[in-house]
């Protein structure tokens, strides 16, 4: 009897290894007092190194760890989006009270842990690695949401996220067990082959498994009606973490959504397409209607994220390469738009007494044009107006939907976009236009539930380069890819080609 040692593809695993090593190093800085100030820099270094390794692996398509993970362009593109978001979140966390409260080393190590989970999740092609990755992603976020130890909303947000997130995980796990029972394997390709075999197709066990797994994923991606936690958690969490969650979690969840449905469940696409389309439509309506008249910007962005998740889900519904391309393109565009918006929200939160209330950006156009422009572009982009990446993203999605015979969902996207104008444009109006009669209530800023940080912590925040630069760069990217989308289109096309 001879023992065959498994071959380990260190090159393919390099990004994950780099992240893990970096995570440990950052955690160590919490222990050694003189190194404490180096945590953010070390985190950035880790992120940069991982991004470099991922770009080095671009173009490779390798199965890792006996097929539990698969490093392809889809995984790399999603991981890059997550890393970019994390890097911006690190910048936004400079001088963030939450970082001081939990300790810089711990905070950044948890952030890196979540990025590690996302990188793994984007590569997962096995039910076990899928579940482990989603937990690695989620658990650090539960803690980070509650990182603002002295603020009740933050603690509440962490607890809420923990409970709802666990519920989602449990549902997902339960669904996976059904799938395993039906298919007899945890491997995505194996499940596809098993479903393809006669007898299993249409098996209720598989059907229930798919449904429960979809619900669990919908919790993570905040797709209505499994979104109730989103606005509360987004509002309560420290704003840099909200930015990170809004973008990166969504990207990672959609990566595994795509891989799970378009690879493992591809033979049964006829059965899950219509229910997912209904889910997307519900999400579009609920998110857009919920965002109306929200005074808190973070809450509004939370609901808008629910609506945007509905749009993105449309790309999955058609189960085509064009659909996956559209998803990746939209996720990248969405990342730029949201990061620009959140950077401005962070700056105003520290600068004014209004917290994240919409009044915090009132008159921003005259006062701080360098912040007003990014937020304006972000809002116009999210609303899908032309000359922004948001427009091209919607175009991409609608094209995929119409080509995949889901024109009615495209009409839903159009209708949702119309509703969304009624909450995106008032933000623009607050910045540039004279306040209307109702907004001109003078007197001391009454904090009516919408403002987590009551006191301005940093009156000069609007000038800090680490806040202004990310906002400006992200907004510039939104406009650039709105006018010359070709580079981002090619990036997305490679991701889609990796699956089909």
């Amino acid at each position: 009897m001879s023992f065959q040692a498994p071959t380990i593809d260190y090159a393919g695993l390099a990004p994950v290894i780099a992240l893990t090593v970096g995570l440990c190093a950052v955690l160590m800085t919490a222990v050694f007092k003189p190194l404490r100030r180096t945590a953010p820099a070390l985190t950035m270094l880790t992120l940069a190194g991982t991004a470099g390794l991922l770009i080095w692996q671009w173009g490779e398509s390798t199965d890792l760890v006996s097929g539990a993970l698969r490093l392809d362009e889809l995984a790399i593109s999603i991981a890059l989006i997550a890393i970019l978001t994390a890097a911006v979140a690190v910048l936004l966390s400079i001088r963030e009270p939450a970082v001081e409260e939990v300790g810089s080393g711990e905070y950044h190590a948890l952030l890196l842990g979540s990025v590690l989970g996302m990188t793994l999740l984007a590569q997962a092609q096995n039910l076990v690695s899928f579940f482990i990755a989603i937990e690695v992603l989620s658990i650090p976020l539960y803690i980070l949401c509650a990182a603002n130890l002295r603020r009740e909303e933050s603690l509440e947000s962490g607890l809420k996220y923990l409970i709802v997130g666990s519920l989602g995980s449990a549902t997902l796990l339960y669904g996976m067990s059904f799938l395993y029972g039906g298919a007899g394997t945890t491997d995505f390709d194996g499940i596809a082959a098993a479903i393809g075999r006669e007898g299993v197709l249409g098996d209720p066990l598989i059907g229930v498994g798919i449904a429960m797994a979809a619900v669990g994923l919908a919790f993570k991606a905040s797709i209505a009606p499994f979104h109730q936690w989103t606005p509360d958690v987004y509002q309560g969490a420290p704003t840099p973490i909200t930015a990170f969650m809004a973008v990166a979690t969504k990207a990672a969840a959609f990566a595994v959504f795509v891989r799970f449905f378009d690879v493992a469940l591809a033979p049964q696409s006829g059965e899950w397409q219509a229910p997912l389309a209904v889910l997307a439509a519900i999400s579009i309506v609920v998110g857009n209607v919920g965002a109306l008249r929200q005074p808190s910007l973070k809450r509004m962005l939370g609901y808008s994220g629910v609506a945007q998740a509905g749009y993105i889900l449309g790309g999955l519904v058609v189960a085509s390469e064009a659909g996956v391309n559209a998803i990746v393109f939209y996720l990248a565009a969405y990342a730029f738009m949201n990061l620009a918006a959140f950077a401005v929200v962070v700056a105003r939160e520290r600068e004014t007494a209004y917290g994240d209330d919409i009044r915090a950006v009132g008159g921003l156009g005259a006062e701080r044009p360098l912040l007003a422009w990014p937020l304006t572009i972000a809002m116009l982009g999210l609303a899908g107006l032309p000359a922004t990446a948001g427009f091209i993203g919607k175009l991409y999605l609608i094209e995929a939907l119409v080509a995949g015979d889901y024109a009615w969902l495209a009409v839903f996207i159009a209708i949702g976009t119309m509703i969304s104008l009624a909450y995106y444009l008032p933000v623009v109006a607050a910045m540039w236009m004279r306040p209307g009669a109702e907004a001109q209530t003078p007197g001391a800023p009454a904090i009516a539930g919408a403002s987590p940080e009551a006191d301005p912590t940093d009156p000069e925040a609007g000038r800090r380069p680490y806040l202004v630069a990310p906002a400006l760069l992200a907004a510039a990217a939104v406009v650039f890819f709105g006018i010359l989308p070709q580079p981002l289109v090619e990036f997305a096309e490679r991701a889609g080609a990796a699956l089909f």
Partner: protein, 498 residues
């Protein structure tokens, strides 16, 4: 050439951001003037004998999605481009003579608006057209919302603007879906393209035409605005800053009418024939409703606004006569109306400055010491009511002629609109310029600044009155082509031809 025409305004606007505040206005005027120069050069180089597009620009933009950057000029858009350049120069100059709050942003938005509008006229790719059509909204959102004025009656400026944007975007987002659906269905699994010419060649099934037609028609009818879809118009007109309203009313409404000729007739001929009478009914309702409102309103801006509803109704009726003379008249009338409504609004602004009110009841007797203003106003008024001898008369004649031969009942109703136009135009003139002068209003001659803005616009009206062939000669060929696609589908004519 076409490229530089399109991007010159925006380039001037961006450079203007870095100039001192006092200079931005005049820099923007220079930009608009250069654009006008380029547009005139385009006219000079236009070969009226050639068929098809001229001065084309073709480049791949997003090949994966089948979107090209393709521009071109033909008889349909040549004079609308010229109109855009003329009216924008007038509007920008009008604004430059007055102090603007935050001038950098104001003139950037004005010039961005010009680029977007020119883009919508020039685009020969369906998606590019939709993109520019939507893009037009962005600058006007800022212009109306940030520089508009809150009125005692009606909602605040930003609320009125939001209403306008939501109304118009409802149309244009559905149009985006329609454009994509048209391309995907026409491609039928093959190479996807949005090129209008290629789509016309590929053709669409009758069933798809039927619903996509309405997605486009809704967008264009809201933009005009047509009756029942005009809900945004009164509030927006009341709130808008005048310089922006001049170009908005003068040019943007025509993009909708132009869209019918450029996109709807060639792409959806079956549906066009099928729904001809529905659209004609909407057009007639717009004429009647717009006219009736125009002679009951007392706010001078709204008189201009509602008269535009009526005039655009005429233009739509001309297009949907589905005959070459009707469409010829429609194009001529689009240019005419742009040239008339722009000076009309400038005069309205001047009158409002004098009387401190925009209410007709508080005006009067302005002509006493202002013969030049009165003369200019009279010319504009007579052109508005389509006095024989004016180009508007010829435009309306062509439209009615086309309509008479096609749908005589509709034509008879439309004629009443001509009579009503005389009523509301003369009412506006009399109530402001004649009658007894109320206390506290000064009758003063216009100063040279307003004269410089008004006189060239009025000169254009006169020039066109003398030589309307300038337009008709060059448009006829393209119009024939646009209408030919539809007239083949009409049962009556197909039989007659046999």
């Amino acid at each position: 050439m076409t490229n530089s025409l399109l991007w010159t305004p925006l380039a001037f606007g961006i450079v203007g951001l870095f100039l001192p505040k006092r200079a931005t206005g005049w820099w923007a005027v220079l930009g608009a003037a250069v654009t006008l120069g380029l547009a005139v050069a385009l006219l000079a180089g236009f070969d009226s004998g050639a068929s098809g597009l001229q001065s084309t620009v073709e480049a791949k933009w997003i090949p994966e999605l089948g979107v090209d950057y393709s521009l071109g000029v033909d008889g349909l858009n040549l004079f609308l481009i010229l109109l855009t350049a003329v009216v924008w120069l007038g509007g920008t100059a009008f604004a430059a003579f007055r102090d603007q709050d935050r001038p950098h942003l104001f003139f950037l938005m004005m010039l961005l608006g010009e680029t977007a509008t020119l883009g919508a006229f020039l685009a020969q790719d369906l998606l590019l057209f939709v993109l520019f059509f939507d893009l037009m909204l962005v600058p006007f959102y800022f212009l109306f919302g940030a520089w508009g004025s809150d009125r005692a009656e009606g909602p605040s400026a930003s609320a009125a603007t939001l209403k306008m944007i939501v109304y118009t975007l409802i149309g244009s987002l559905l149009m985006l879906v329609g454009a994509i659906a048209a391309a995907v269905i026409a491609a039928d699994g093959g190479q996807l393209t949005f090129s209008i010419a290629a789509l016309v060649e590929q053709g669409l099934g009758e069933g798809s035409q039927r619903w996509i037609f309405w997605l486009f028609a809704a967008a264009f009818l809201v933009k005009m605005p047509a009756f029942l879809l005009h809900g945004w118009m009164p509030d927006a007109y009341r709130a808008a800053p005048l310089a922006a309203l001049v170009v908005f009313s003068g040019v943007l409404a025509k993009v909708g009418a132009y869209g019918f000729l450029r996109v709807v007739l060639p792409l959806f001929p079956d549906a066009t024939v099928e729904f001809q009478e529905v659209v004609l009914a909407i057009a007639l309702a717009s004429i009647l409703y717009g006219s009736a409102m125009a002679f009951t309103q007392t706010n001078v801006r709204l008189i201009a606004g509602y008269s535009s509803v009526a005039q655009l109704g005429f233009i739509t009726a001309g297009i949907f006569a589905l005959r070459a003379d009707g469409a010829d008249g429609a194009i001529l009338q689009m240019v005419n109306h742009g040239l008339v409504v722009a000076p009309l609004l400038v005069i309205v602004a001047i009158l409002a400055e004098r009387s401190g009110s925009e209410d007709l009841r508080e005006m009067g007797g302005m002509a006493m010491r202002a013969p030049v203003l009165a003369a200019l106003f009279l010319i504009v008024t007579l052109a508005t009511l389509a006095m024989p001898g004016s180009a508007n008369f010829i435009g309306e004649f062509y439209i009615l002629n086309g309509l008479f031969q096609e749908k005589i009942v509709f034509a008879i109703v439309a004629i009443s609109g001509v009579a009503m136009a005389a009523f509301y135009a003369l009412r506006l003139y009399q109530r402001t310029m004649h009658n007894r002068k109320p206390e506290g209003i000064e009758s003063r001659e216009i100063d040279w600044r307003d004269g410089v803005v008004l006189a060239p616009l009025v000169a254009c009206i006169l020039a066109l009155a003398l030589y309307p062939q300038l337009i008709l000669k060059r448009t006829d060929r393209s119009v024939q082509q646009a209408v030919a696609a539809v007239s083949d589908k009409q049962p009556s004519k197909a039989v007659a031809r046999r």
